[in-house]
């Protein structure tokens, strides 16, 4: 057994705040009365509704679909009646078309939901079709349709699959609990991916601050050749796919490139476990594990939540707010998106619901850059954040482009580490947007 711990250059060590939930077993969330299911929870084309207002639907029934390749269908997470199809605010900050369903409390399962049989009996194409039909999208937060990721073009041969169990975001423990409680589903999902892509080398990569998960996963993959569990240095953003590939294989995904350019596919452990669940039960993605935590949550929990459940209903069953909330975040504190209302639905990419109290939510006052160079030392992409930020503030976006602003992965490490509390990644994001818009116009 190798004791090697893998890592990448740069990165930060934010305080973890995971103790509140890391030992709390996943609990089934209360059945919601109302679910609001967005027709677009992923990167790619939004779905068209397959149902109409007043129609009865069942659990697992496909209610939205698009003909586009880069898209992912959505399914009902309850049985009941379609009440509304209208535009609703969702966690990504966008307003998208959503189907509101009132539950009849019966949770009748749709006829199409049937176990898919043994993995051995399924062909490569069948596995891919099952993954596509089940509406799988990256559950780590980005929400890229999984079947697209697993169908790389012919000229990009894949030799390595990496299951991303790093969970480097502070506060979040959903992936950790999945590995502890559902290792069999992770294994089944991983084997399905290996089959679909035709690869016989894979890694389950876990930060070493989760020794129990490493042990459990090691035990379960022991009989399977080609699957290796590896320890990663506990460091943010270790879970970024380009960082995790670099840590384990030493390969560098080229600037502007994708993992497939270096023969790798990285899938979040929650996504992989869900693939396992789809194969075993036939149930599409209608639920996900989410960590509900933060300084203003009464009883932090890891919940198995039906997609479309409103944040306020989830928070209520965690005992509600323990004090006046200052900030409500979809995801972790480093890359999550702040919400202005708790009436947004849980989507496939909701890895965490984080509520910070007034004090923790305060945005610090920036002071002058003292050129301490910490942002340069920790940038995982080797950028000079202070320079890009300075140019962005001066509206010199062409200058910012020269400093490779568009290579920024927006991990936020620079803003975190800055002693002068400068809004580094925030301003770099603006520069990126300006540069990309300009490039598009030029084309």
């Amino acid at each position: 057994m190798s004791a090697k711990v893998f890592t990448f250059r740069g990165g930060i060590h934010p305080p973890h705040h995971k103790t509140k939930t890391e030992n709390v077993a996943i609990e089934n969330a209360l059945e919601p009365n109302i679910v609001v299911i967005p027709l677009s929870q992923h990167i790619g084309a939004p779905c068209d509704s397959l149902v109409t207002v007043g129609e009865k639907v069942k659990v697992g029934q496909k209610i939205g679909e698009s003909k586009a390749f880069v898209s992912s269908p959505v399914h009902s997470s309850v049985s009941g009646t379609v009440k509304k199809i209208d535009v609703h605010q969702i966690t990504t900050g966008a307003k998208v078309s959503c189907i509101t369903i009132e539950s009849d409390g019966l949770f009748e399962i749709h006829e199409s939901v049937r176990p898919k049989g043994k993995l051995e009996d399924l062909s490569k194409e069948e596995v891919l079709a099952i993954i596509k039909e089940a509406g799988l999208t990256g559950m780590g937060g980005a929400g890229f349709p999984t079947h697209v990721k697993l169908s790389p073009p012919k000229d990009k041969p894949i030799d390595t699959i990496i299951v991303n169990g790093a969970e480097c975001e502070p506060f979040l423990t959903a992936d950790h609990r999945i590995m502890l409680e559902k290792p069999d589903l992770v294994l089944l999902g991983l084997r399905a991916i290996m089959k679909a892509v035709g690869v016989n080398k894979s890694y389950v990569a876990i930060e070493k601050n989760k020794p129990d998960a490493i042990e459990v996963m090691k035990k379960i993959v022991a009989d399977y050749e080609g699957i290796e569990v590896v320890s990663l240095e506990t460091k943010y953003p270790q879970g970024d796919e380009k960082r995790i590939i670099n840590a384990i294989t030493g390969r560098e995904v080229p600037s502007g490139g994708l993992p497939m350019d270096v023969g790798c596919i990285v899938d979040n452990v929650g996504t992989v476990a869900t693939i396992g669940n789809v194969i075993a039960t036939g149930m599409p993605v209608i639920q996900r594990v989410t960590t509900v935590t933060g300084s203003a949550i009464q009883n932090p929990k890891n919940l198995y939540i039906r997609i479309g459940t409103l944040f306020k209903d989830v928070i209520e069953q965690c005992g509600g707010y323990s004090e006046e909330p200052g900030k409500l975040i979809n995801g972790g504190p480093m890359m999550g998106i702040a919400q202005y209302t708790d009436e947004v639905p849980v989507i496939k990419g909701t890895s965490g619901i984080l509520v910070l109290n007034k004090k923790d939510a305060e945005v610090p006052e920036p002071s002058n850059c003292i050129r301490c160079g910490k942002c340069v030392s920790i940038c995982p992409v080797n950028l000079q954040p202070y320079m890009i930020s300075r140019q962005a503030i001066l509206n010199n976006f062409e200058e910012a482009d020269k400093f490779h602003a568009t290579d920024c992965i927006e991990c936020g490490s620079c803003s975190f580490i800055c002693p002068a509390k400068r809004p580094l990644v925030e301003t770099i994001r603006v520069a990126k947007k300006e540069i990309l818009t300009k490039r598009k116009k030029a084309k």
Partner: protein, 310 residues
């Protein structure tokens, strides 16, 4: 609740490190050397340091009031400048020397250029250069020999240079600071301890001190031979300069490779000044000259992009 939630962009958490805490660490790292200077040179040392610090802080406050800018004296950067400037003057200097030096350092070298982060040279060294040019006798004489407790005319480096006569102190005295010199540079050992504290706390990186002192040591070995090498390393404020002046964030290069170039450059300049320049010691001017080259180094020495450039 909609109107009460804060909606800023990620990240939503920050390190609790602040500019003020970094500066406080520098002050803490300088304290042992301050205590040593009081021990060796007497109470006047403390008066000079206090005068310098008060002048730096008050000057900063006044400048910011006049320019109608936010008052940032609580970030402690002026305190650091005040201590560092006082560390550069002889123990018998009158109290108004550090007062004028600090005022110049803050007003002219720092605030005129935009305050903290915008000065292009180290304010404390600029203040010292100003004093050197204006009241040279107060800066270059008036050494106290802690062994005899008498006012002496020679520092070890001026003896090496031949600009003064006298006997070189023992290397042990050089190390602990039992030698004539400016306030803060006397004890190489305590400055080293302060420097190691700063490296341990992550306030500075090891690169500049190691390459700077290393360059001076290697050149001294070639120029003056092995017996003089340690005098060059332990004397003339090299430790103070290498750990506390050359590492000044604002005026040294940002990247690691840039820091190496800068430190080696400062080492070479230090030895050139010591051997053929007009002054017995070259630490301050070597750092000031390299400060001016910093923007150039930063322009041409940039980190290699992960995944290669487009």
């Amino acid at each position: 609740m909609e109107n009460k939630l804060i909606g800023s962009s990620s990240p939503h958490i920050r390190t609790d490190e602040t500019t003020q805490k970094l500066m406080l660490d520098v002050v803490i790292a300088l304290l042992p050397a301050l205590v040593a200077s009081i021990f060796y040179f007497g109470f006047n040392s403390l008066i000079l340091v206090i005068a310098s610090v008060v002048s730096a802080v008050v000057t900063e406050y006044i400048c910011q009031r006049i320019m109608k800018k936010p008052i940032t004296v609580t970030d402690l950067s002026a305190v650091v400048t005040g201590i560092l400037l006082a560390f550069n003057i002889p123990p018998t200097a009158p109290w108004w020397i550090p007062v004028l030096g600090s005022a110049f350092a803050i007003a002219i070298a720092k605030q005129i250029f935009g305050g903290i982060g915008f000065n292009f040279i180290n304010p404390a060294l600029a203040g010292r250069a100003f004093l050197m040019a204006s009241w040279n006798p107060h800066l270059t004489t008036g050494w106290i020999d802690p062994v005899t407790d008498a006012v002496s005319s020679a520092t070890p480096l001026s003896i090496i240079k031949g600009s003064a006569t006298g006997e070189l102190p023992s290397l042990f005295d050089m190390l602990v600071g039992n030698i004539p010199g400016v306030l803060g540079e006397t004890s190489a050992l305590l400055l080293l301890a302060g420097g190691i504290y700063l490296i341990y706390r992550g306030v500075i990186k090891w690169i500049i001190p190691v390459f700077y002192i290393g360059t001076v040591a290697i050149l001294a070995l070639f120029v003056d031979g092995g017996s003089m090498m340690l005098y060059h390393v332990l004397g003339g404020g090299l430790m103070l300069g290498a750990f506390f002046m050359a590492t000044d964030y604002v005026t040294c290069p940002i990247t690691d490779r840039g820091k190496v170039i800068y430190a080696i450059g400062a080492g070479i300049l230090t030895m050139i000044i010591r051997k053929i320049g007009g002054y017995p010691e070259g630490v301050s001017y070597s750092i000031l000259l390299m400060n001016i080259l910093t923007p150039l180094i930063d322009k041409y020495v940039t980190p290699k992009l992960f995944g290669g450039a487009k």
